[in-house]
Amino acid sequence: MELFIQQLTNGLAVGGIYALIALGYTMVYGVLKLINFAHGDLFTIGAYLGLTLLTTLGLTNYLGPFGVVIVLALMVMGLVAIVGAALERVAYRPLRQSHRLSAVVSALGASIFFQNAVMLIYGARYKVYPHDILPRTAIHIFGLDIPLIRLLMLLTSIVMMIGLYLFIQRTKIGTAIRAAAIDQGAAKLMGINVDRVIMIVFLIGPALGGAAGLMVGLYYGQINFTMGWLYGLKAFTAAILGGIGNIPGAMVGGLLLGVIEAMGAAYISIAWKDAIAFCVLIIILIVRPTGLLGERVAEKI
């Protein structure tokens, strides 16, 4: 039972990160029908920017641990959002009218570019986060010691997800994003500036991805320039699992994937962890071809 709860909380914490990254994939997909393969690298950039800001600004001298993390998160999110918007402007906007696969190759090219840019700037070795930022204490619940930082991560990702959900559902811009996702042409006719909607999506998605990168840095303590590829792949899996284009789907898919992986690693085999996640995905897609929460798209005739 102890193993179960430990793995459950661990899975949920990692799943929260997957969910934050998956939101970026799913929002971009919803509006542009594009798989943004460079999204995982924006996550890496977030992790590295967080490290740079942490070590150069010396925020720890002025603020307490939580103040540092909040200020840092806001700065990282802002910077990564700018990178994301620039990416859209340079690599995706010229391809908006062309075949979907052309944009996919452009995204892969951008991914190679970012990954190597990070490597050239920071070097190919693992970078280590200072590990005294957040208190390494454990909380005692139900007779179990659960690391505080794990709970904080889960909490942060859930707060961000709820914030995004409210933003999408309740605000005018959110309504515009949903409208553009359903039908770009009709949205334009209703006076929505679709270009601006796409830009906003490319600000929000990368901001969440960057925040996830910072969280991974703080949680695991070490980062590498290639890590975005694996996290991106996992998050993309999560987005598909929940039904791509569907925002609650990405959240559910992310958390579920984290838990499946943690449970698979604990009860089946740690070496087969990734394979188990993909097997579950394939089984779910065979049963529900558009993911868990994806709407059934009727074939147009």
Binding site: A91, S102, S106, S111, A117, I244, A275, F278, P289
Partner: protein
């Protein structure tokens, strides 16, 4: 116009054929890799370019072919080239089993399933499944191929084996492209529903495309195993599938000459950019983005199909 194109193809083929005479072993080996990826990308082109199925797991079939060859060759010492069709069959059979339940998935869902498949295969190889794959060290001691009593050993010998195989592939796939089957694939790529309505069994055709592509990739795996003599799971990771995917799309979906050019660019450019040392992949990434912006359909998109009326009438008249 057509003659001019033929002349260009002839010149390129002759230069390529003679290239081992004036290139050193390193560059011949680069050309060998280009050749292997050309054949692999041509086989992926059937699935991705012609049938329009988003398949990003082609390395899995390549791996199955290579491992089939390696395991049978090292345990039973059956000559490599006899195993060529066996490797193809194993990969093709795997494609049939895997693709059957997923072939109806829509574009991006199929993409992630194929990615998942290639990862599952790689992890299975690393974990030494059934105790026959040698884990992450792989399998070593694979024999060299012997063709008509000639042992193929040196890079230039492999050059002619690989590019000979590529020539056969190009010829056969060109015939396939212009057959009823090729036209049916293009039809269902453009409009699934209309193709179904015209009496094309789309699921069946997609499945056949998948199996043909996988069969061919399995055969390339056989030659790869013989060329390397050592194979390990890391040669078949997800990134290899992405490279193949890029070759097809960068060169031009559904265009044989485009795919060949794509293989030369994707494998050759990082070699040429070597002077930029560590920045070469950065430049390569930027190049890909730029290429897609300026040549959206790929560098050499397929030529439109031509049906000369006079010829067709003539054939009808004689029949």
């Amino acid at each position: 116009m057509k003659d001019k194109r033929l002349v260009i193809y002839a010149v390129i083929s002759v230069v390529l054929l003679l290239s081992p005479l004036f290139l050193n072993a390193y560059w011949v080996d680069v050309l060998n890799n280009v050749g292997l990826y050309t054949i692999l990308a041509l086989s992926l082109n059937i699935i991705l370019g012609h049938a329009g199925l988003f398949h990003m797991g082609h390395a899995a079939f390549y791996a199955l072919g290579a491992y089939t060859t390696a395991i049978i060759n090292t345990t039973y010492h059956i000559p490599i080239l006899w195993l060529l069709p066996v490797s193809g069959l194993v990969a093709g059979l795997a494609a049939l089993v895997v693709a059957r339940p997923i072939i109806h998935l829509r574009g991006d869902y199929l993409l992630i399933v194929t990615i998942g498949f290639v990862e599952i295969v790689r992890i299975a190889l690393v974990n030494n499944v059934f105790g026959i794959t040698g884990g992450s060290n792989g399998i070593f001691g694979i024999n060299r191929p012997i063709l008509f009593g000639w042992k193929i050993n040196k890079p230039w010998e492999f050059f002619y084996l690989i590019w000979g195989f590529a020539a056969v592939t190009i010829f056969l796939f060109n015939r396939l492209e212009n057959s009823r089957f090729g036209r049916a694939l293009n039809f269902l790529r453009e409009d699934d529903v209309a193709a179904e309505g015209s009496g094309i069994n789309t699921a069946h055709y997609k499945l056949i495309a998948f199996v043909i592509g996988a069969f061919w990739a399995g055969m390339v795996g056989n030659i790869f195993a013989a060329k390397m003599t050592i194979i390990a799971p890391e040669s078949f990771n997800f990134w290899e599938s992405v490279v193949l995917f890029m070759i097809v799309l960068l060169g031009g979906r559904g265009s044989i000459r485009g795919v060949i050019l794509g293989a030369f660019l994707v494998l050759g450019l990082p070699e040429i950019f070597r002077q930029f040392a560590t920045a070469r992949m950065l430049i390569f990434g930027a190049f890909m983005v730029a290429m897609m912006i300026f040549r959206t359909e790929g560098i050499l998109p397929p030529l439109p199909r031509k049906y000369p009326i006079a010829k067709m009438l003539g054939r009808e008249g004689s029949a």
